[in-house]
């Protein structure tokens, strides 16, 4: 505990000028690349006053984009929550054939460009795709419709929760679960009475990251959406359309809303980290 303070004392023997210069450079860098864009978004959004900002958000197409973004996240996050917890539980607590293959598969969405994953859906479900004719014959619309957007979002946010939980659960081992079973607990009782409480902060952290990505995803969603205003536009897509139409105030208004969601997410994340630290459960930033 006391070692960092000692090393800091030794390593800060530089003169005050050098210290201030280094700190100054670091701060300037942070402000230029992280702070300034955030401020710019809000400045541009409010350039023409509150009135226009408010109107831009209430415009029906904008409102529909906001709703679609929340719908996609509301389906993708719970789906990946269930999948991520099951996958992490299986990988961390059991030995089985094909385990490393499963881990590699979970990482796939991280490795593949989002645009490519969008294109894969077009190849599979598009009119000329593998399942296209079958889908058409049964009158099921996946592409250029809400289901396609949800699928693409699920795919892109697939690894977040599992990746967060696997290292955490591996470090906790399986002795507590074995103890629970030897005391007569069923598999389900073991999970929700022993495993779940031990991973709750890590799980919440994974959900926050997953949600942030689900709401902000552009590439994959852009390919499968078809950009139909009022129907298949999510917030990031709507921002692009408005911007291309030189409607800057409206574009930045929606963008400011996305930025606000990001800031709130970061605040919750900081809160979770602080709570987790207090409760003594380590968070692994595996992703």
């Amino acid at each position: 505990m006391s070692t960092p303070t000692i090393t800091r004392k030794i390593s800060t023997r530089e003169s005050t000028t050098v210290t201030l210069l280094l700190i100054g450079v670091a701060l300037a860098y942070l402000l230029l690349f992280l702070g300034l864009p955030l401020v710019a978004v809000f400045v541009e959004a409010f350039k023409k006053g509150w009135q226009l900002y408010w109107e831009a958000l209430q415009e029906p197409d904008a409102w529909s984009a906001i709703k679609l973004t929340f719908i996609a996240a509301a389906i993708a996050v719970p789906a990946n929550l269930v999948f991520g917890v099951s996958a992490a539980w299986a990988i961390a607590k059991f030995e089985f054939k094909g385990k490393s293959l499963l881990i590699t598969l979970i990482d796939l969405p991280f490795a593949v460009s989002p645009v490519v994953s969008g294109l894969v859906y077009v190849l599979l479900f598009g009119a000329q795709g593998w399942f296209g004719p079958w889908l058409q014959a049964h009158d099921i619309k996946l592409l250029f419709a809400v289901p396609g957007i949800v699928l693409a979002t699920i795919f892109v946010t697939f690894p977040f929760i599992a990746r967060e939980l696997i290292p955490l659960m591996q470090s906790q081992g399986k002795e507590e679960e074995e103890a629970a079973v030897s005391l007569g607990a069923s598999g389900w009782q073991t999970f929700y009475k022993v495993t779940l409480p031990n991973i709750k902060w890590g799980l919440l952290y994974g959900v926050i990251l997953c949600n942030a990505r689900a709401m902000g995803e552009f590439g994959a969603v852009s390919v499968v959406s078809g950009h139909i205003r009022g129907l298949t536009n999510t917030m990031p897509l709507h921002v692009e359309i408005l911007y291309n139409e030189y409607n800057f105030v409206a574009a930045f208004s929606i963008a400011s809303l996305l930025a606000l969601l990001a800031v709130v997410t970061l605040l919750i994340k900081a809160l979770v980290e602080w709570q987790a630290k207090r409760s003594g459960e380590p968070l692994h930033h595996g992703a």
Binding site: E175, E176, E178, A179, A180, V181, S182, L183, G184, A185, S186, Q189, K193, V194, P197, N198, G280
Partner: protein
């Protein structure tokens, strides 16, 4: 409840963890599985507990095959080396866990659970810690809570995996005596795994010595110490000197290529040759350790070091100093010919 193990085998890949194990555990006894790490003792314990499955062989509880039974249905209490307490629960909730997860119709009411948990916490003398969390306890306290938790479901068999392995020496000694007393009160058939021979000899009714997936010897602490069945047991339990008959052990010479094993305290030292089989040696080291005096001597013939232990009384009656030329002769020894005990030669 008695346990019968017949022809049990377990492999991990190409590694043979258990090689045809046969063992009978009597009802109510406290048995130690003793051996170096990797000898298969923990695998055997986990198979009995239902955490691992054997590849082949039989496992019977009171004559009834339990191999197909899940760990939760075996009614076995398990105590882990690193306690495995539920870190997010208080001590009370840890001990109550086994009572709370029972099916509804078997579950006791809250007042009864409370009574039982406090009774168990009193048994392990830690009731005053009932509202603490595991992280707030010392290692010895955690292990006693783990034991109370295992006892809460009234197991017919108690399995302990290196229960004192993670504790410091002083707490270890205290806790193992306490475990022995507790066992004398409760009389649950108990098996504990250890690599510490002193622990096994002090606590257990019987000791099973294991090596490389096989059982080397089963016997009372006295038997495995005084009459080791194999050279491995001789070397693993207590200190021992080896005399190769061909080189320098006239009292074992008639056996050809054999090795005589002699405990350090079974060797007599004398200034004059006791008889014509006595070996001439030179004293190299004298060290008093508590109630005993350890003497190291080198054989004149090969300068090999022999360890001898004398009681302080015995040493004082004929003191030695470094450089003394003396003779040694074993009072007791056992001869093994290529690893097999030669019964006739055992003195």
């Amino acid at each position: 409840m008695s346990i019968t193990i017949e022809n049990l085998n377990k492999n991990f890949g190409s590694y043979k963890a258990l090689d045809n194990i046969n063992l009978e555990v009597n009802s109510g006894e406290l048995l130690a599985l003793l051996g170096p790490s990797g000898c298969g003792k923990t695998s055997l314990l986990r198979i009995i507990g239902g955490m691992e499955l054997a590849d082949s062989g039989k496992l019977l509880f009171h004559g009834e095959d339990v191999q197909q039974r899940d760990a939760r249905e075996r009614n076995v209490g398990f105590v882990f080396q690193h306690y495995a307490l539920f870190r997010h629960m208080t001590v009370f909730e840890n001990v109550a866990f086994g009572l709370r997860v029972k099916p509804k119709k078997e579950r006791h009411n809250e007042a009864e659970i409370k009574r039982r948990v406090h009774e168990l916490l009193n048994l392990v003398q830690l009731d005053f810690l009932h509202d603490r969390y595991p992280a707030q306890l010392s290692g010895g306290q955690r292990q006693r809570i783990a034991l109370a938790r295992a006892l809460a479901v009234e197991p017919k068999i108690l399995l302990l995996d290196e229960p004192f392995g993670a504790l410091d020496a002083q707490v270890r000694k205290e806790l193992r005596r306490w475990l022995r007393r507790l066992h004398d009160e409760l009389h649950i058939t108990s098996i504990f795994v250890t690599h510490d021979q002193e622990e096994a000899l002090e606590v257990a009714d019987r000791v099973v010595v294991m090596n490389k997936g096989k059982i080397e010897q089963v016997g009372t602490p006295d038997e495995v110490y005084a009459a080791p069945a194999t050279p491995f047991v001789y070397k693993f339990i207590g200190n021992v000197n080896m005399f190769h008959s061909r080189d320098h052990a006239p009292w074992a010479a008639e056996h050809g290529d054999a090795v005589a094993y002699v405990r350090p305290h079974d060797i007599d030292i004398s200034r004059i040759a006791q008889d014509d089989t006595a070996l001439p040696v030179e004293v190299k080291l004298v060290r008093a350790i508590g109630s005993i005096v350890r003497v190291e001597v080198a054989l004149d013939s090969s300068s090999e070091i022999i360890q001898i232990e004398l009681s302080r009384e015995r040493f004082d009656s004929a003191p030695l100093v470094i450089g003394d030329k003396v003779f040694i002769r074993p009072r007791q020894f056992r001869v093994f010919e290529s690893g097999v005990l030669n019964e006739l030669s055992a003195a």
